[in-house]
C-alpha cells in the first residue's frame, strides 16, 4: 500500500481499526433498539457475513487493480449476489426471533 510513503500505510490500518470499532458499537446499539436479542452464535453469523462481504469486495478490487476489470466485477457480482440473498435471509432470521420474543 502507499508505496511512496511509510506513514500512510500504518495510519490507514489504524483508521480501519477505528472504523471497525465504531461499526460494531453502532451495530450493538442498533440491534438493541430493534429489540433483537443476540447471543454468541448469532454474532458469529453476523460477523462472518460481514467478513465474507469484505473479503469479496477486497478480492474483486484486487483483480481490478490488476487491470482485470471484467474479472473483478464478476468476482464481486456473483458471490455478492449470493451475499445479498444470504444477508436478507440472515436479517429475516434475526427479526423472526424478535417477534417470537415479543409474543411470549
Amino acid at each position: 500500500m502507499f508505496s511512496n510513503s511509510n506513514i500512510l500505510g500504518p495510519l490507514f490500518w489504524i483508521i480501519m481499526g477505528v472504523l471497525y470499532m465504531v461499526f460494531i458499537t453502532g451495530l450493538v446499539v442498533w440491534l438493541k433498539d430493534l429489540n433483537i436479542k443476540m447471543n454468541w452464535w448469532k454474532w458469529s453469523l453476523v460477523l462472518l457475513w460481514f467478513i465474507l462481504l469484505s473479503i469479496i469486495i477486497a478480492g474483486g478490487f484486487t483483480l481490478i487493480g490488476e487491470n482485470e476489470m471484467r474479472a473483478g466485477l464478476l468476482f464481486i457480482a456473483v458471490p455478492g449476489a449470493v451475499m445479498i440473498v444470504a444477508g436478507v435471509a440472515l436479517s429475516r432470521f434475526l427479526f423472526r426471533n424478535r417477534h417470537e420474543k415479543q409474543n411470549n
Partner: protein, 488 residues
C-alpha cells in the same frame, strides 16, 4: 446532549463506519492488486526471497514426468532452431549462387538428417514454407504497425544486444568440453564442508546474481543433446564425465509486457538476464576451482532445460510444454551451468500441475497457431517420455505472423496460463490451497472462475488483420505505448 441523540449518533456513526470499512477493504484490495511489488522476481531481492513457495510439503522422490519406453537423446535436427537453420542455409544461400535446395525439389532432395525428419513429420516442411511466406508478409506489414510497437521493438532489440555477435556474454565454448570447461579454473581449490553446504552457497550466489529461482539437479544422460556439441560441431558423443550436476536458474519476463504478448512482449529480457547470471556463475564456479559450462538461451544449450529444472525441483511440466513453477507460473525462463563441483541435488516436487492442465486447456484454446495439444491426458511419447504434443512448426509460423518487426516469438501461452499470476493474497490463496486439495474440487472451482470471469480473447484474435485483431492478452503498460511519449 440528550440520550436519544446520542443513540442516534452512535447508530449512524456505526452505519457510516461499516460502509467506510468496506470502502477501505476495497481500497486495500485495489492497491494489493495494483502493487508492482507483487510481481515475483526480476531482481527485487538478492536473498532468494523470490523463491518464496515452501516446497517441502510437495517434495516427491520421483519427478512427475512419465517414462514410456526407452529414453532417447534429442538430436540437432529435432531442435527447431537448428533444423530451421540448416534448411534456411540450403534455401537462402548467400550471394548469387543457386540455392542448394528449392521447395520444388521435394523432400527426397534434402540431405540425410533433414530428409529423415521431414519424412517422419508430414506437413512440417509445408509449415516451414508457410512460415517463410508469413515472415515476408510480416516484414512488409511492419511499417503499418511500427509506430504502435515502436517502444516495444526498441526495448526488445536493446535486450537482445548482449546475445548477438562477438560481444555475446557468456562467450560460446570454442573447444571440446574437456578443455573449455576447465579453461581458467582456479589452481587453488577448497573442499566444501559438505555437498549440501556447497549447494546452499551456490544457490545464494545465484540469487545474488539476480536469479529468481535456483535449484540443483544431477545431470541425466537423456537430457543431453546428441549429434551436435557446442565448441565441437556435428558429432555423436558420450556425455562428458565432468557434467555431474547442473545448477538450474530461472527468471521471469518483465510481467507487464509479458501479459501484453504477443506484440509488446519479448523473449530477450529474460534471456539476457539469464545469460548474465549463468555467465557469472560459470566464472564463480571456476574461481572456486571446479569446471563449469553455461547453457544459455536462446540456443546455446547442450542440455534440454525443462526436464532438468523439473529434476531440480523448480516446477513441473505444463500442457504448453513450458516449465510451470509455483512462483512464476509459465513465465519461467531457464538456463543452467553444468559442473563437477560436488553438490547436493534438490528433490523434484508435485504440486499437481498435470492434473490441473488436464482440465484447463486454456493455452490450447488461446494459442494463435493451434500448436498446443487438446487431448485430455499427456499421451504423446516424445523421446521416451509422455507429454502433450507441441507442434513447434506451427508455433514458429505464428512467430512469423504476429505484428512484430521480425519473428521474435509469441509467448501467448505464457501469459494466459492461470499459474502465471502476481504474488498477492488472491493468487497466493490459489497457489497454496490448490496443491493441498486431494479432491481436485478447488482446482475445478478456480478453473471455472478463471474461464468465466477473465477475458480470454481466443487464439485467432492475437493475429494481425485479416485473421485477427492484433489483440494482446493483457493491456500494454503505459511506458510501452508509443503515443504516450512520441509525436505520432
Amino acid at each position: 446532549m440528550n440520550k436519544i441523540d446520542r443513540r442516534k449518533f452512535i447508530k449512524s456513526a456505526g452505519l457510516a463506519g461499516g460502509a467506510l470499512s468496506l470502502a477501505g477493504a476495497a481500497g486495500a484490495g485495489y492497491s494489493a492488486g495494483a502493487d508492482k511489488d507483487s510481481y515475483t522476481g526480476y531482481g527485487r531481492t538478492n536473498y532468494g526471497e523470490d523463491q518464496f513457495f515452501n516446497r517441502k510439503p510437495f517434495i516427491v522422490d520421483n519427478p512427475t514426468y512419465v517414462k514410456k519406453g526407452e529414453p532417447v537423446r534429442i538430436t540437432a535436427v529435432e531442435d527447431i532452431f537448428k533444423r530451421n537453420g540448416m534448411l534456411s542455409r540450403l534455401m537462402f544461400s548467400r550471394g548469387d549462387i543457386e540455392p542448394a535446395w528449392k521447395p520444388a525439389d521435394g523432400i527426397d532432395a534434402l540431405p540425410g538428417q533433414l530428409r529423415d525428419y521431414y519424412k517422419a513429420n508430414p506437413g512440417a516442411l509445408e509449415e516451414f514454407i508457410k512460415a517463410m511466406e508469413k515472415g515476408r508478409a510480416q516484414r512488409a506489414n511492419w511499417e503499418k504497425y511500427r509506430d504502435k510497437y515502436f517502444i516495444a521493438d526498441a526495448w526488445s532489440t536493446a535486450h537482445s544486444s548482449p546475445i548477438r555477435g562477438r560481444g555475446a556474454f557468456p562467450a560460446e565454448p570454442r573447444d571440446r568440453p574437456e578443455k573449455s570447461d576447465f579453461r581458467g579454473v582456479n589452481k587453488v581449490k577448497l573442499e566444501p564442508k559438505s555437498p549440501s553446504h556447497a549447494s546452499e552457497l551456490i544457490k545464494k550466489i545465484c540469487y545474488s546474481f539476480g536469479a529468481s529461482l535456483a535449484g540443483i539437479a544431477k545431470v541425466k544422460k537423456e537430457w543431453v543433446y546428441q549429434g551436435s556439441l557446442r565448441g565441437v560441431g556435428r558429432e555423436d558423443y558420450e556425455v562428458p564425465s565432468h557434467w555431474k550436476y547442473a545448477i538450474v536458474i530461472a527468471v521471469p519476463h518483465e510481467w507487464d509486457s509479458m501479459y501484453a504478448n504477443p506484440t509488446y512482449g519479448t523473449s530477450y529480457d529474460a534471456y539476457s538476464k539469464l545469460r548474465f547470471i549463468a555467465g557469472k556463475m560459470e566464472v564463480f564456479v571456476k574461481e572456486l576451482g571446479y569446471s563449469s559450462r553455461p547453457h544459455v538461451p536462446p540456443t546455446s544449450y547442450d542440455l534440454v532445460m525443462p526436464p532438468l529444472a523439473i529434476d531440480a525441483g523448480l516446477g513441473e511440466q505444463g500442457r504448453n510444454g513450458i516449465l510451470i513453477t509455483p512462483e512464476l507460473g509459465a513465465n519461467t525462463r531457464l538456463a543452467a551451468v553444468t559442473t563437477d563441483m560436488p553438490l547436493e541435488p534438490d528433490k523434484p516436487i508435485d504440486i499437481g500441475v498435470s492434473r490441473f492442465c488436464e482440465k484447463c486447456k486454456i493455452c490450447a484454446e488461446e494459442c494463435p497457431g493451434g500448436a498446443i495439444d487438446f487431448s485430455d491426458k499427456a499421451e504423446t511419447v516424445v523421446r521416451g517420455y509422455k507429454r502433450w504434443k507441441i507442434d513447434q512448426n506451427k508455433c514458429f509460423t505464428i512467430w512469423n505472423s504476429v505484428a512484430t518487426s521480425h519473428a521474435r516469438g509469441c509467448r501467448v501461452c505464457l501469459s494466459v496460463c492461470p499459474y502465471s499470476r502476481k504474488n498477492n493474497w488472491v493468487h497466493s490463496f490459489a497457489r497454496e490451497v490448490d496443491p493441498r486439495d486431494p479432491t481436485g474440487l478447488v482446482a475445478s472451482g478456480l478453473l471455472a472462475m478463471q474461464k468465466k470471469f477473465f477475458n480470454y480473447p481466443g487464439g485467432q484474435e492475437y493475429l494481425p488483420p485479416p485473421d485477427g485483431n492484433n489483440r494482446t492478452f493483457g493491456e500494454a503498460p503505459e511506458w510501452m505505448k508509443t503515443d504516450e511519449w512520441f509525436k505520432i
